[in-house]
Symmetry: C2
Subunit: 109 residues, 2 copies
DNA sequence: ATGACATATCAGCCGTCCGTGTGATGTTCA
DNA sequence: TGAACATCACACGGACGGCTGATATGTCAT
């Protein structure tokens, strides 16, 4: 804690800019109802695209679009169903999600 | 934990939609470089608008705009400087920030 | 093989939000 | 009182992102 109460002197105009690029990128991913819903559903275990699309009331291709964003960010992973290979199940990468949590807490913490 | 591994049966199309409205609203606030920088700077103590604008390399009115968004969300609070009343200092509402953390962890947790 | 289903990818439209400019309000100091 | 400064409130232009529709790929059943 540097300055718990308002200062008495003059404003300091030479303060460094905090680096929040990681946090904003992650927040942008969470700032969408569909993507946040996906991440929340996958917290309880894997789900296929059609399941999540039905639950969220969105179309399959739309959900697939958002899953691609989450996949590019490394937050989720796709796995083929052994018995029924036409269903593509998604699961969370818990290690990556843990890193995401820390990066957000670097701003809100 | 409901289903740790991919299921063998058919997809369930009757799953409930998770409620993520609080989380997405908060994430939208964090998904901006200026707002995230403000919240990060205020974690170390109060700052006036001109200080944060200088540090973030943004104009005063722009920072003021974003502060209004954070103020409407209840995350920050404005306090007049006793000695120098022309400077308006902002501080975080730590209780509200704690609630914000929990709401985000409801999705990422 | 053919058709039906699940998912992926791409292009285009459209809404929303960010940054800016301007004027108004309030505070300090001469 | 008047000038300079800090902040706010509002409206405008542009860029970014989400939804959609069409098309493509791969899988299962008949």
């Amino acid at each position: 804690m540097a300055t718990p109460l308002p200062v008495v002197g003059e404003p300091r105009l030479d303060l460094p800019a905090p680096d929040v690029t990681d946090a904003t990128a992650l927040a942008a991913l969470l700032a969408d109802r569909t993507r946040a819903g996906i991440l929340r559903m996958l917290a309880d275990g894997p789900h296929c695209v059609c399941e999540m699309a039905a639950a969220l009331g969105e179309r399959d291709n739309n959900v697939s679009n958002h899953l691609a964003r989450l996949r590019d960010a490394g937050l989720v992973r796709a796995i083929r169903h052994e018995a029924n290979a036409r269903f593509l199940y998604y699961e969370r990468d818990e290690a990556a999600v843990a890193v995401a949590r820390e990066r957000l807490l670097a701003v809100l913490g």
